[in-house]
């Protein structure tokens, strides 16, 4: 079918990159135009955290979508989504380090060790690091496809820790509606995967 070829178009990746950077562009615009409400630091932290979770949902949906829609071209786009998600995670961490902690390294290291909520989020970011660091073709060649793939399964752990981080953040206020939305999406995608792995190939 014609629409599947769209994923193979040379425009697909740049277009996707633009789409994925729109939230960030809005946040930057809103910051400089004072549109983030009374507490812009909090708004930036929360928004970038939300977008990291959304990115994780999207990147983990690519394989199921590719199979279900029979659109192998989608695989080409996974890296773009993955790298964008990592960048949102980096800005999220930067918001914490800068606005919340004022780059006080000692305070931060203590904070990370002391608080499971911070520790979970930081661990999720650490798990994403090697994935981002090996997100180019030469890295796949150096590692070998199988090892590269094994390494990149860390994304499942990163997603799990991210949802737990979000759960913990909301736990004090018993406000879990959004947490459940992400948990159900990510859990559903994992269930689909496990069943797909078990299919005889």
């Amino acid at each position: 079918m014609q629409w599947r070829n769209a994923f193979l178009s040379p425009w697909a990746k740049p277009l996707l990159a633009v789409l994925l950077s729109l939230p960030m562009a809005w946040l930057i615009y809103a910051t400089f135009n004072n549109l983030l409400g009374a507490n812009p630091a909090e708004a930036l932290s929360r928004e970038t955290g939300d977008w990291t979770l959304r990115g994780l949902c999207l990147v983990l949906a690519i394989t199921p979508l590719r199979v279900v829609l029979q659109a192998p071209g989608l695989l080409r786009l996974r890296r773009t989504v993955g790298v964008a998600t990592f960048l949102y995670a980096c800005v999220h961490l930067l918001c914490y380090a800068w606005f919340d902690q004022g780059f006080a390294l000692e305070d931060m290291s203590q904070d990370i060790l002391k608080r499971p909520f911070i520790w979970l989020g930081f661990s999720a970011w650490v798990l994403m690091l090697p994935l981002a660091a090996t997100s180019f073709n030469a890295a796949i060649r150096w590692l070998g496809g199988r090892r590269w793939q094994a390494l990149h399964r860390l994304v499942y752990a990163a997603a799990l820790l991210s949802v737990l981080h979000f759960f913990w953040m909301r736990a004090g206020k018993n406000n879990f509606t959004e947490v459940w939305v992400y948990a159900v999406i990510l859990g559903g995608l994992m269930v689909w995967r496990v069943r797909w792995w078990r299919l005889p190939k």
Binding site: G37, A41, G102, R115, G172, N174
Partner: protein, 326 residues
């Protein structure tokens, strides 16, 4: 008959009674200055209440003479003070209250006084407003989430009302029950908290003159999203202790089961005094961000013990382990 004496106005028992010559010689000028200063003071007095934003009905008040009641911090702008609110009956987002209070009716209103008290009964808002003279007080408000505001409230010490209703000797705590009307408060019934929202104070905390029964903000009646028509302000405690839209004040001999304490006892204690040395399980309480004043890149300011009201309220907690009684 004129009795002539030798007293010429310079005969004084002690030398300190003698008006210095330069003051005496300039006495007319001194009187003039004193008169001008008096006029200026009167002028200040008339203007002393914080300028009204002109949004709601005025609520006149005199600046409070109470020690600690007039913080000199920069006031939080009216817009921030009325759009950045935690009022979970109207939603969990800070902007939700201002968006969702449209159907909230704050008139007619009455407050039920009940429990261990000599004069229980229902008091109409109109009568409640007349219990004592209205004072303007500028309080810092530190939210448990790590941000703070500076608000010009209007009200009177809760102790004025408590004295009037005469609690029994057996009353050790005061419980504040707030309105929970699912018809006009869309998030009442959400599982975030148990409703109605209940707060409480120890009797000596409730009797402390800084504990303010509040009817106004910025020289006007309370905006709905700020807890109209009557709320509490206990400036040395985290903001959630300030019950909003109060409908019942109950005197009891047992520590009240308060809303956030019921929801997460390990995170929110009954006392919830502002304390930079006792962290919340998920974040440090050592610093805070002042809403509307501190920019995005401003380093967060240090949180003060008892939110800076230690001189006034520290003795209430003498000998208590504040790490355990957080």
């Amino acid at each position: 008959m004129l009795i002539k004496t030798f007293a010429d106005g310079f005969d004084h028992p002690t030398s300190s009674d003698i008006t210095p010559a330069h003051v005496y010689q300039n006495r007319r000028q001194w009187l003039q200055q004193a008169g001008l200063m008096g006029l200026a003071a009167a002028g200040l007095d008339a203007q002393a209440q914080t300028a009204r934003p002109g949004e709601l009905a005025p609520l006149q008040a005199k600046p409070s003479p109470l020690a600690g009641a007039m913080a000199t911090d920069t006031l939080t702008p009216y817009k921030d003070a009325t759009t950045y609110n935690n009022f979970y009956e109207f939603g969990t987002d800070k902007l939700d209250p201002v968006r969702n209070v449209k159907n909230f009716l704050v008139s007619p209103w009455s407050v039920e006084i009940e429990g261990l008290v000599k004069k229980p009964g229902r008091i109409n808002l109109e009568d409640l407003l007349k219990v004592s003279a209205m004072e303007e007080r500028i309080y810092r408000m530190r939210c448990v989430e790590g941000w703070s505001l500076v608000m010009p409230w209007v009200g009177y010490s809760l102790s004025e009302l408590i004295k009037r209703v005469e609690p029994l000797g057996s009353a050790k705590y005061v419980e504040f029950v707030t309105l929970a009307d699912p018809k006009t408060m869309p998030y009442v019934g959400s599982r975030v908290l148990s409703w109605p929202y209940v707060e409480g104070l120890r009797m000596d905390e409730a009797m402390h003159p800084l504990t303010l029964l509040t009817f106004g903000l910025y020289g006007e009646v309370l905006p709905k999203q700020n807890g109209a028509p009557v709320r509490l302000n206990v400036p040395w405690k985290y903001g959630f202790k300030n019950a909003k839209s109060i409908v019942k004040i109950r005197f009891t001999d047992k520590q009240p089961a308060t809303a956030w304490n019921k929801a997460a006892a390990q995170e929110y204690g009954f006392y919830s005094n502002v304390n930079p040395n006792v962290d919340h399980p998920r974040w440090s309480q050592a610093t805070e961000r002042r809403i509307g004043e501190d920019g995005l890149l401003t380093k967060k300011r240090k949180t003060l013990m008892f939110n800076g009201y230690e001189a006034q309220v520290g003795q209430l907690y003498a000998g208590m382990d504040l790490t355990k009684n957080f």
